[in-house]
């Protein structure tokens, strides 16, 4: 069974996911950021499901492992969709929503195909391996897409504070997870990575709850002030 610290982080993450939805509802932003909120709700359902699987089958059981990796892949796809809706928000005035969605579907299909080709040689548990590979690749694709979106925000001088913070916190989340996956591949026996992941998992709902609760939709800021390299 995982240690009490992991349980504590898991509970905290679940509470923060509820907080995101509650804050969005309270500030009448649920529909405006529908996909982000649906992702949080789905993540909440997955947390409950994982807990049930853990209690029923145990941490070392194949049932828990299957549930964990399949649900993680579906969650990552949900987050990918949430990121694409942030693209739609940023490019709203340019009326490019149709092209953004088409590009997103093609990229998702491309990532899935790439993941399939990577695991094709594996003889055992191919489906599980595929979902793990897909999650890992989607985190990296998500990181690159968030980086491009941040570049677009700076270039287009997007000033909506809430949108900027949602994108930046998503960037922190994707890059932290992509770095963690890479670290796991570099050092498979490095056990401490397992403790870092739940900490990062708490940061995204915390930042989003803060953005919904504290920042009004009409709050504005100059994004050029936020760039690490001055523009």
């Amino acid at each position: 069974m995982p240690g009490s610290f992991i349980y504590w982080l898991w509970s905290l993450e679940t509470i923060l996911e509820v907080a995101v939805v509650v804050c969005a509802l309270a500030k009448h932003s649920f529909r405006r950021y529908l996909c982000l909120n649906l992702y949080m709700l789905f993540s909440l359902v997955v947390s409950v499901g994982r807990y049930q699987a853990l209690i029923r089958f145990g941490l070392q059981s194949p049932q828990y492992a299957y549930f964990y990796f399949y649900s993680d892949a579906v969650l990552t796809i949900f987050l990918y969709v949430a990121l694409i809706t942030l693209y739609v928000h940023v490019f709203d005035e340019m009326e490019t929503g149709k092209y953004v969605r088409l590009f997103a579907v093609l990229l998702l299909a491309g990532t899935a195909l790439f993941s399939y080709l990577v695991v094709q040689q594996s003889q055992h548990r191919m489906l599980t391996h595929f979902f793990f590979e897909l999650s890992q690749n989607l985190y990296f694709v998500g990181l690159v897409l968030t980086y491009v979106l941040w570049g677009a925000i700076l270039k287009l001088r997007e000033t909506r504070t809430r949108l900027i913070q949602l994108v930046l916190s998503l960037g922190v989340y994707f890059s932290a997870f992509a770095a963690t996956f890479a670290l796991r591949n570099m050092f498979p026996n490095f056990q401490s990575v397992g403790y870092i992941v739940p900490v990062f998992a708490c940061l995204l709902p915390l930042a989003w709850a803060y953005a919904f609760w504290r920042l009004p939709e009409d709050a504005r800021m100059a994004p050029s002030r936020l760039a690490v390299v001055p523009r």
């Binding site: 913070q165 930046l168 992509a178 915390l206 504290r214 936020l226």
Partner: protein, 132 residues
Amino acid sequence: MATLIFLFSAAALLQFFISYCRSLIAASIKQPLSAEVRDVTGIASAASGDDFARVIQLLQLCPERPEDQSEIRAIGAYFRLLNFVRATVARIIPALVAWTEMERGQCAYFAAVALERRIAFSRDMLSQQLDA
């Protein structure tokens, strides 16, 4: 390949984290400090990085506001990161010294604004208690 992904992800993480902390600070920078807070913190005109620890100590003396806990922690982490950069990389790249000092000053100003809010919050609580 994993090393390359790790390096890119770590660089992106650093950049996103810095920009996120700056977005938290940006909202406070516009807010002027009252004369009272200036007296208490010793920040006369522009805040310097050396004021940060003192302002944080003063913050800890005030009753906590649940709303500002997470942002103060994030800025505290950012301040420690800046101290690390100042003590390591900035020794090799001197241009970073001025940048880290400016950022540390903004962290101190952010903490002073948070202190101002906590003082106002404490006064509100006290007046509510007196009214009751």
